[in-house]
């Protein structure tokens, strides 16, 4: 049985409620599947942490952290400058 075939079988077993039995009958395939899922999940977590650390580092020296706008045409720095200017009005 190939890995793909086992995945299809596993999905059907989960839907029909006999996944525990399948895991017992094909323990090696189940372990393989779990290992693959764990690796994917670990990679996702590492990627998320990397992006989060990069964002935190990048925003530290700035006068603002993030700018959202409903239109294009004005830069983030210009919005931050306007926020400062409004306090001087």
């Amino acid at each position: 049985m190939t890995e793909n075939k086992f995945d299809v079988l596993w999905q059907r077993a989960e839907a029909e409620g006999y996944s525990k039995r399948l895991a017992k009958e094909y323990p090696i395939w189940r372990q393989k599947q779990r290992r693959t899922l764990s690796v994917v999940a670990a990679l996702l977590i590492v990627a998320t942490l990397a992006v989060s650390l990069y964002t935190m580092q990048a925003r530290q020296p700035q006068d603002y952290e993030k700018v959202y706008c409903n239109r294009v045409g004005t830069t983030d720095a210009q919005w931050a400058a306007l926020a400062a200017e409004m306090l001087m009005e």
Binding site: R34, L37, S38, A41, A42, L44, I45, T48, L49, V51, S52, T55, R59, Q62, D63, Y64, E65, K66, V67, Y68, C69, N70, R71, T74, D76, W79, A80, L82, A83, A84, M86, L87, M88, E89
Partner: protein, 136 residues
């Protein structure tokens, strides 16, 4: 195992995705307004605040905005502490979270500064005073 990892991942996602405020969302969908949210606007080395800036694209949009926020036409730049849920409502500082609202008819612009703590309130005042001194 997989479920646990997914839960951890979901808990981590908000760190990356900084949320837009409800105030921003309430104005952003309007066609005649340009709206920006400056998150983490730096007041000093310790304090940062979120600022929502609303710019009316034309006079009609400004008139509507001014009406909603009880700004009289003849007034110059006005500033008040506004209720978090109803910014038009003028409130006094009670150490509860508020909005410092600054409205400039000349610019057709309103800025809302989210003040959640006393430290932010003080830092905003210091920021204004320090910059005014520098201008003089």
């Amino acid at each position: 195992m997989m479920k646990r990892l997914l839960i951890i991942l979901m808990l981590l996602l908000p760190i990356v995705a900084m949320a837009q405020s409800s105030l921003y969302k309430s104005y952003a969908s309007r066609q005649d307004l340009t709206v920006a949210q400056v998150s983490g606007f730096k007041l000093d080395e310790r304090e940062r605040v979120d600022v929502v800036i609303v710019v009316a694209d034309n006079d009609a949009a400004w008139q509507q905005l001014a009406k909603e926020l009880n700004i009289r036409g003849e007034e110059g730049t006005v500033s008040w502490l506004g209720d978090l849920q109803k910014p038009a409502q003028r409130v006094k500082w009670t150490k509860a979270p508020v909005l410092r609202v600054v409205a400039s008819p000349a610019r057709r612009t309103i800025a809302f500064y989210h003040l959640n703590t006393e430290a932010q309130y003080d830092a905003l005042l210091d920021y204004q005073l320090n910059n005014m001194k520098q201008e003089k």
